[in-house]
């Protein structure tokens, strides 16, 4: 099969390129690249809930905080190795997502938006005030992850953890989206009644979308804490929600490639504009307004409109 060979070569080249990135970076650039990966992962979770499944769930920062705090605290308080803390973080994130689903999915879309946002803010409130466990508003330092005695104590080394986790979760998500599950998500987004007429259990699939968002968000959080080396509750509030929302909207709701491009853009932007740090949120807001006005389908839509090559993500598997 010719296209199969070609796909494999592209994939191997792509992954090899990613593996080689640290050869060409210094610590600062590497840190930014690590952030791009983390932002991509959490935005992917949001994109699944919001872009694919059409559910107004603003809990990405909440899930991310749960992941970061669970992983960090498991390491600090319980002395867990990082890989175990990561798994714990994902499981706790999943539990919270399901819990949120049980409550939130009974509500209509606006109330779902408000209740998930409230969840995010409540979690932040908890980190600030449960000082005995979470060390309060000033946060805490995360120890370097170690694996078989090898310390991941530089940004370049941490990158390989990030790369490994993000690649696995992204491939799994992509596989899941390009199947009956992705089709069911989009069907629910487009018309719940029609989805149900296709024997799709709307509630069950919404729950699945939320669970995927919870897993990806909390995994991203667990990575985030080692990328940063120190976390504070401030990282997981409204500003973070806005950032994730921006990545998804700029990428074009629910497309993979658009998401990658916009994760890069949105992560680099504040670094480039460091001199105007106070204006960051104004800038974000401005960008969102511009996109809503001029390109509601984001980068994906622009490519569709102007590129000679039409690229659209298929919602079925390569078989």
């Amino acid at each position: 099969m010719n296209w199969k060979m070609r796909n494999w070569i592209i994939w191997v080249g792509f992954v090899a390129g990613l593996v080689c990135i640290p050869l060409a970076t210094n610590n600062y650039y590497q840190y930014i690249i690590n952030l791009i990966f983390v932002n991509f992962l959490v935005a992917l979770g949001l994109a699944i809930m919001l872009g694919y499944c059409g559910q107004f769930v603003f809990a990405s920062a909440g899930f991310m905080g749960i992941g970061a705090y669970t992983a960090g605290l498991c390491m600090v308080h319980l002395g867990m190795p990082y890989w175990l803390a990561l798994i714990c973080a994902v499981l706790v994130g999943l539990v919270f997502a399901v819990f949120l689903g049980f409550i939130g999915l009974r509500l209509s879309r606006y109330y779902l938006a408000i209740s998930t946002m409230a969840f995010t803010l409540a979690m932040r409130f908890f980190y600030v005030n449960a000082k005995v466990v979470t060390f309060g508003p000033s946060g805490f330092n995360i120890p370097f992850p170690k694996l078989f005695g090898f310390g991941f104590n530089t940004d370049r080394r941490v990158y390989y953890i990030v790369l490994f986790v993000v690649l696995i979760l992204a491939i799994l998500s992509r596989n899941i989206l390009r199947s009956k599950v992705g089709r069911a998500f989009v069907a629910i987004r487009d018309n719940e009644d029609v989805a149900a007429a296709g024997s799709i259990s709307v509630r069950q699939y919404k729950m699945l979308a939320l669970a995927m968002g919870g897993v990806l968000g909390s995994a991203a959080g667990a990575l985030y804490c080692v990328v940063l080396g120190r976390i504070t509750p401030e990282e997981f509030g409204m500003g973070a929600i806005l950032l994730h929302f921006l990545i998804v909207v700029i990428g074009g709701l629910g497309t993979f490639l658009g998401l990658i491009i916009s994760s890069i853009l949105i992560t680099i932007l504040p670094e480039v504009l460091r001199a105007f740090a106070e204006l960051q949120e104004v800038l974000y807001g401005g960008i969102i307004i511009l996109i809503i006005l001029f390109g509601p389908e984001g980068i994906y839509g622009l490519v569709q409109k102007y590129s000679p090559v039409k690229w659209r993500e298929k919602m079925y598997g390569d078989v």
Binding site: R183, V186, N191, S199, Y316, V319
Partner: protein
Amino acid sequence: MCESKRKGDYFHSEGVVVNFGGLRALNNVSLSVGENEIRGLIGPNGAGKSTFFNVATGYVKASSGGTFFEGENISGLKPHEVAKRGIIRTFQKRGILPGLTVLENVLIGYHRLLPEMKLWHIGLRLKRFKTLEKKAIVEALEVIESVGLRDVSDQLARDLSFGQQTLVEIGRALISRPKLLLLDEPAAGLSSSEREHVSRLLKRLAHSHGVSLIISDHVMDFVMDVCENLSVLNFGEILAEGPADYIRQHPRVLEAYIGTG
């Protein structure tokens, strides 16, 4: 009251009453469809045809009365549970999924036949996934061909004409191997050649695939051509039932449609 309860009825409703606020949308509607029967459901606008479809498929709960399929009471089931049992419907306002292509729209209908495709098969791209997905795609393309949409199978459903969207929806219904098919105004927006094509398709479905159909439509030529028996709804009540020729001359039906002079 329950005169429609006969042995061997494939699908039947008994004394279905639906109230919307103070309005009685359906009043004591009893209707039965046998195996491989094509039943027409006609009546003026607002007579309750779509409401009946909504009750039969679980979208609207009846205030009283019940619906039965293959000898089981299906009244309390949710829409997707009804669909799982093989009662598949289409929608009057074209139930297409605008953001999906024709092929993907049709594949939505195949969802019913993929219960053994589990999440881990999908996530890890196991052989099970590939076999099932391939079968689904092949069948979907066949169905698309059979409804005459081969040339647009990769287009987004929102870019199609109303008639083509109707065909997409019929395709989605066909692929799910329905036992009972409820079509809400399938002929609306179709050209006469498309109409002929669809009517042939539906007859073949009933006669060689053993599917029962309930067709609600305003296009009388189409209904009279396809359906063996008709039920006439007016103001939420069954006005008359019988073979097409009988209904055509029924004085009360004429009165309901044309009005008394």
